[in-house]
Symmetry: C2
Amino acid sequence: MPPKSKRASLPPQALDLIAARFKVLSEPMRLRLLIALEAGEKNVSDLVAATGATQANVSRHLQTLTDAGILSRRKEGLNVFYTIADPSIFDLCEHVCGSLQKRLAQQAKAFGG
Amino acid sequence: MPPKSKRASLPPQALDLIAARFKVLSEPMRLRLLIALEAGEKNVSDLVAATGATQANVSRHLQTLTDAGILSRRKEGLNVFYTIADPSIFDLCEHVCGSLQKRLAQQAKAFGG
DNA sequence: TTACTATATGACTATACGCGCATATATGGA
DNA sequence: TCCATATATGCGCGTATAGTCATATAGTAA
């Protein structure tokens, strides 16, 4: 998103793209896959083991993340290895987490914690 | 999200919260409302005019954003005014936009643009 | 070739969600 | 009181999507 001065005139198309990006990150299982991949390249079987999900389900989510440009694929024999292609998403996640922590802390205080 | 060193041990519950946050931001209409509100407090009628959406639809999205702690409500007579309660979301949006621009530029170059 | 492994995908179900319509709930004025 | 205005909400529809199961595809080895 452009800086504030230009934001109000964003074409609807651009907002759709930004929203789509957020949507890709809005599934816990996909976040799990990303975190598992932060330590480095892994193949599908590794990710199935790391997440406890079905192989089919893992494959689908990996496809979604790859289509979004967040992951990249590398085929090697029978295996397919996935890597983080856009590390900036972790900045995003940390940002969100900070915001959530602040809010939860406020709520806790309001409750008398 | 915690820094990389602690990220791998995040409880599933935390990931659900983060994913939920992203989901709130994954609707173009909600982004439109946020951008409209960045200029300052507005009531529902203003936002209906600004977005061209139905009053019912605007009300629903405002509720979603308020429940997420992103907006805050202030009632004044017949009107209800909404404000950005968590300005940090704009940092998020800019981050996403930068990432998208980089990727689209690469694709354009790969296409011979 | 056949058998085996790793990954992807078609079909299906269940659920969630955005939207519109109508209506309910305030609040203020005559 | 009665009416108008501003906002919220119950209901239904259509669509999107996560998940599972079974199967297809691709690569390896014998």
